[in-house]
């Protein structure tokens, strides 16, 4: 029986190492939860005049506080269950609703950012003047903390009558165009000299060299940079939700959670954001697999 398990997919594949790591993280989480919540629990006992308690009762109490310093795994899981499955997705109390708000800004910002990044890279690769003049600005743009610039973008755009999803998306764009631009400059310049010479002997135009050589040569770079871009787009969207006064979105859940000390709510929003980021990055990965297979890459 044991031998069969050893030979099963579990041992050969990636499943077992993943399970071990997940288990270790959960165990660590519980240990930390007990430790961090213990001082408060001792205070509760003192105020209530409880002088004797068993270890198991103490641990159970630390893991089930209303406003714990660190909520336990099952509290967060229950909160996520209650706010997703048990709530209508259109309800403002539904985490699905807030996730969708953030997701829509993320996707819009990522799309604009990717297109902008690719467009900048095309310009930079084809024009020496653009290469010299744009690159320092592109790099400088990323040295400004997004937390500082996000409220200004929201306020300025609001002043000229733009509100809703677009200002948040533009913050995502601000973050996500950068890896795409830098990656695609590298990608468009990745064809070997011999391939460029070949196109030269055919008297190919710049457009033809781009469409038939540079674009395809840049594909691996595109997907790598889009994986980075989509995850920081999500960060941008969440940051963009903070200065709007916590109306809706995962950022709003984080902010209102911290206003009211709702750590369970904060953690469930965090877990949701992490799961969303993982899903988005793996979707880009799937798109990459489909494209590279079509391009005949050895598998």
């Amino acid at each position: 029986m044991f031998e069969r398990m050893m030979n099963s997919k579990l041992m050969q594949g990636k499943a077992l190492p993943v399970l071990i790591i997940v288990g270790a993280i959960l165990a660590f989480w519980y240990v930390m939860a007990v430790q961090l919540n213990a001082p408060w629990q001792l205070g509760v006992y003192e105020r209530a005049g409880v002088t004797e308690w068993t270890n198991s009762q103490f641990i159970s109490d630390t893991l089930n506080q209303d406003r714990p310093v660190l909520p336990s795994v099952h509290q967060v899981a229950a909160e996520i269950w209650n706010t997703t499955v048990l709530k209508s997705p259109t309800s403002r109390r539904s985490l699905i609703y807030h996730t969708w708000i953030t997701l829509s800004a993320t996707l819009l910002g990522f799309t604009i950012g990717s297109i902008l990044g690719i467009a900048l890279a095309i310009g930079i690769v084809h024009s020496r003047a653009m290469d010299k003049s744009m690159m320092p600005w592109i790099i400088a743009s990323q040295t400004i903390p997004i937390l500082a610039i996000a409220p200004m973008i929201i306020v300025v755009l609001n002043a000229i009558g733009i509100s809703g999803v677009l200002p948040k998306a533009l913050i995502s764009t601000y973050l996500s165009f950068f890896p795409v631009a830098v990656g695609m400059v590298k990608g468009f310049r990745s064809p070997e000299q011999i391939q460029l010479d070949l196109m030269h002997t055919y008297a190919a135009s710049k457009t033809q060299v781009f469409m038939k050589l540079r674009w395809f040569a840049a594909m691996p770079y595109l997907f790598t940079s889009m994986k980075i871009a989509i995850s920081i787009s999500l960060v941008g969207a969440i940051v963009g939700e903070l200065p709007t006064g916590a109306v809706a979105g995962l950022g709003a859940r984080l902010l209102s959670g911290s206003y009211y000390g709702q750590t369970v709510q904060i953690w469930s929003a965090l877990i949701m954001a992490a799961a969303l980021a993982a899903t988005l990055v793996s979707l880009v990965g799937i798109a990459e697999k489909i494209v590279t297979r079509k391009m005949g890459v050895r598998t």
Partner: protein, 261 residues
């Protein structure tokens, strides 16, 4: 038409600037290549044989002298797609199948789809790659990849073929085989071929004329007219005639070297 040379170089020079003084890649090269000839360029590295080919292809600009390709400047000849160029490496685009790699120059030249298919079929047959249309480059051996790149250079029916050590990276057995095929192809298509190599047997076996070159500065040492017949079975390489020509090539290379020291 037969009297005007396909390639004509007069006092052709090319100097590359470098940190430790200029490099004279080509120095006053005089050479005519006529229609239907198979001319090999042989010499040690740095003798300018590849540079000469790249000047013909308008990949380098000469710093002195004159050169015409089909009576035009190299630039005009390139714009007119007068030549096909085969590089040292196959340089196939890895995301294109064999047939789509061969189609690349045809697409760039704006050829229609039906006509493209016909050209692809014909040129792949010429290099014995029929049946591998849908293969990706990585699925082919090195020799087959180089044959695909030759097909690509032949696809648009240029009368001049420039080949820069196309078989340099291949092993002896594959190389023999491809030499035989190339010779057959040359006899069938009557193209003018300029062929760079560093192998004496390859140069002697293939060429109607052998240009022996020497480095620093890159110049022509000797031009040898081959006395071998056009039809050449592989075992012609065992004949005295073959050895005599090879000997003269070797003497030329030696002379070039002693001149240098």
């Amino acid at each position: 038409m037969t009297n005007s040379p396909v390639i004509s170089a007069k006092k052709l020079s090319l100097t590359f600037p470098a940190n430790d003084g200029p490099v004279h890649a080509l120095s006053e090269v005089d050479l005519d290549i006529n229609e239907g000839e198979f001319v090999s360029f042989i010499g040690p590295s740095g003798c300018g044989k590849t540079t000469f080919l790249r000047v013909v292809a308008d990949l380098e600009t000469p710093t002195g002298g004159e050169i015409t390709v089909n009576g035009k400047t190299p630039h005009e000849a390139r714009m007119n797609r007068d030549y096909g160029y085969v590089f040292q490496a196959p340089a196939l685009l890895p995301w294109r199948t064999v047939e789509r790699n061969v189609a690349l120059p045809l697409e760039i030249m704006g050829m229609g789809k039906a006509e493209r298919a016909e050209h692809i079929r014909r040129t792949l047959e010429l290099v014995n790659l029929s049946g591998f249309e849908k293969s990706f480059p990585w699925q082919l051996s090195g020799g087959m990849q180089q044959r695909a790149s030759i097909a690509r250079a032949l696809a648009f029916d240029a009368d001049l073929l420039l080949m820069d050590e196309p078989f340099g990276a291949l092993d002896e057995i594959v190389r023999d085989h491809l030499n035989e095929q190339l010779l057959k192809l040359w006899l069938e298509t009557k193209k003018t071929i300029a062929f760079v190599t560093h192998s004496i047997p390859e140069a002697v076996y293939l060429s109607t004329r052998i240009v022996v070159m020497s480095p620093r500065p890159g110049r022509v040492i000797d031009v040898i007219e081959s006395t071998l017949p056009d039809e050449r079975p592989l075992d012609i390489r065992e004949t005295k005639e073959f050895f005599d020509i090879a000997h003269r090539v070797r003497e030329g290379l030696k002379a070039g070297h002693s001149y240098e020291e």
